[in-house]
């Protein structure tokens, strides 16, 4: 399965809905999406990963790249994920300390904008 990418605006937050498999083959599409959004002035991103079926370290690298880009503009990048098999790779790499991870998009949107 390929990756699916959609975005929508909720107030000053941009919700990026990601689905499918994020691996070394599809990660460049996610990278391009995040770069496009930041280039267009979207600095507060919420990446909804509830429909992601597979994520590897290449995908993690792209998310970290996105975080670095929004931070350069004093922005934020929050993740929405409740799937244990996806959360596992964040735990293994220690990235749970780097990304705020929320249980729902509503929770992520309600979080303080400048705290991530």
């Amino acid at each position: 399965m390929d990756v699916s990418l959609d975005d929508r605006q909720e107030g000053d937050r941009t919700i990026v809905v990601v689905g499918g498999e994020i691996d070394v083959y599809t990660a460049p599409k996610l990278r391009e999406k995040l770069i496009d959004l930041v280039s267009a002035g979207h600095y507060h991103l919420v990446v909804d990963m509830e429909a992601v079926e597979f994520l590897d370290s290449t995908g993690l690298g792209v998310l970290v790249g996105g975080l670095k880009r929004v931070r350069a503009h004093e922005g934020s990048l929050r993740l929405v994920c409740t799937q244990d098999r996806i959360l596992k790779i964040f735990r293994i790499t220690g990235l749970t300390k780097v990304f705020p991870i929320h249980a729902s998009v509503d929770e992520a949107v309600a979080a303080t904008p400048d705290s991530a």
Partner: protein, 139 residues
């Protein structure tokens, strides 16, 4: 004992091929369900790393994957033709560093993910060996 061998051109799209074959072999060998997801991620990490190294250093050399199961376990060997790359001490620092994708991060993930992991480096490349136990079958 059953063996599957794959030779993959070092192209990102083939990492998925390796994952699919790995999952099929794991199910055929009756690996526990909770370990199949682990194997899928681990083969993906090992092959992403190997594909990146071969693509950069030996693009004409295929990545070799051998899956072997016997009465006690399922073993996966992934062999690349790249130079030695040690595991990072801190994956977060590596990921937050200059490069967004670093093959060493894959090794760090594998070390955290798989209990039985062996990394053997020779002058011609590195073999990452992953092993999972299989349930004891009735005689």
């Amino acid at each position: 004992m059953a063996t599957v061998e794959l030779l993959l051109s070092p192209l990102p799209v083939h990492v998925r091929t390796a994952r699919l074959v790995g999952v099929a072999a794991a199910r055929r060998a009756r690996l526990a369900d909770e370990l199949v997801d682990e194997l899928r991620l681990a083969i993906g990490e090992a092959c992403s790393r190997a594909v990146a190294l071969n693509a950069a250093h030996a693009p004409d050399v295929p990545v070799k994957i051998v899956l072997r199961d016997d009465a006690t376990g399922l073993t996966v060997e992934v062999t690349d033709a790249g130079p030695e790359s040690g595991p990072p001490t801190d994956p977060v620092e590596e990921l937050l560093g200059e490069y967004e994708v670093d093959p060493r991060v894959a090794l760090a993930v594998l070390m955290g993910l798989v209990d039985e992991l062996d990394i053997t480096t020779t002058s011609s490349g590195t073999t990452v060996t992953l092993r999972w136990p299989l349930p004891v079958r009735a005689a």
